[in-house]
Symmetry: C2
Subunit: 239 residues, 2 copies
């Protein structure tokens, strides 16, 4: 059975304006690779209702799993939950289970569940809450879409809850070989080897350090014996 496919949607003006460098995509990509879930595409859109709805609809239909990050806080620019509800065509309002969850947490910290915070209890009908260990407000899953926070510590905590519930595939393993020759000098033999091992994926990532040109050649696949075989051949070719 092929691995499940996934897409990620990052929501936030702060990423596109250059104020913040996104960290959640990098974390998700590593976690999904380890779990055997193939992250095929990512999109980053601004805090714009129509842009979010269009991206959610495009990505949830073409992938088994869609993870979103960002836009579920208490401020006026947090519009992800409403946009996801619109994409699914379902009703959204403050939901009692989310409200109760937040009340329980705020009771401990002495915070007030004011109108702004109640906004974070807006959950689409039919969605299942995603709790986290960092903050009171939950994310949610609706259909194959997992709506999670943008703050990296909260995103990570939510992903820890979600990962065990996903149908994992065969983890993609990799071997990396550092070659201190310019990429243009290894490209020919590398192409031939990639054709021979057509069940594996070969990538070449050039670097230059202190005047030394080289490339990290990475082989990816799900069969460790084949990976070892390819790595042996790479060493023989390039070292």
């Amino acid at each position: 059975m092929p691995n499940p496919t996934a897409a990620m949607l990052v929501i936030g003006d702060e990423i596109l304006s250059g104020r913040t460098r996104d960290a959640n995509l990098h974390h998700l990509s590593q976690q999904f690779t380890a779990a055997g879930i193939d992250l095929k595409e990512a999109r980053i859109v601004s805090d714009d209702h129509d842009a979010i709805v269009a991206a959610v609809d495009a990505l949830r239909e073409t992938h088994d799993i869609l993870v979103t990050s960002g836009g579920i806080g208490p401020t006026h620019d947090d519009i992800t939950a409403d946009a996801v509800a619109a994409a699914f065509g379902v009703h959204i309002d403050v939901r009692e289970d989310a409200k109760a969850l937040m009340e329980a947490r705020y009771a401990k910290t002495g915070r007030e569940l004011n109108e702004a915070r109640l906004r974070m209890a807006r959950i689409p009908d039919g969605a299942e809450l995603i709790e986290n260990d960092v903050s009171a407000a939950p994310g949610f899953r609706i259909g194959n879409v997992y709506v999670m926070a943008g703050v990296p510590s909260v995103f990570t905590s939510m992903l820890d809850r979600v990962l065990p519930t996903l149908n994992a595939g065969t983890p993609l393993m990799s071997q990396s070989i550092r070659v201190e020759r310019a990429e243009g000098d290894i490209a020919g033999p590398l192409r031939d080897l990639a054709r021979e091992f057509d069940d594996l994926a070969f990538g070449s990532y050039p670097f230059s350090e202190n005047g030394v040109y080289g490339a990290n050649v990475v082989v990816r696949g799900t069969d460790s014996a084949r990976l070892n075989e390819a790595a042996t051949r790479l060493h023989a070719l390039f070292s």
Copy 2:
């Protein structure tokens, strides 16, 4: 006149597998913001011909400018140039001007312009070369699409060449105020202020540091007097 809009397409399995953390989007977003070009969307796709063609077509039609990074090196997984040619429906082959450029550089370094390196001289018909100060192989512009390298130092160098040729808009300026109160406590007054200053964009980015909860409130706009006015009001409200 409204600012030009832009999109970015990052191409590379290494980003989606978590091997590499992309750096070019963050750099481009900062440079475009400073130049008054509104980066509206970014997508990241794998080294897959059809995925690249579809993303190039979608993004070049909906934005004034599309910048791509990645997939223009000498190895077999570098397929961006051919995919962009396919998206435009134009012929692509080794082009003499690109070849001459590379020969001139290689003559200085003693490198061989072998078959693999010649792959980097494949340029679509009608495209204009984008040179860079780091490596021999050029990027190119075709229509409103700027095809650039994935290696950050080369991407940066190519962008330095491209930026002065773009129709810049009015630079987006911002003021940032650090508020040491939980986001849920400032969200109400912040929403009211955002409604009053509806020519500016207000963002709120929560943090927690050593047990202190707070938010960086960022106001963006093109009129510095209005920005100062809003910043003064923010200080009065939250400090």
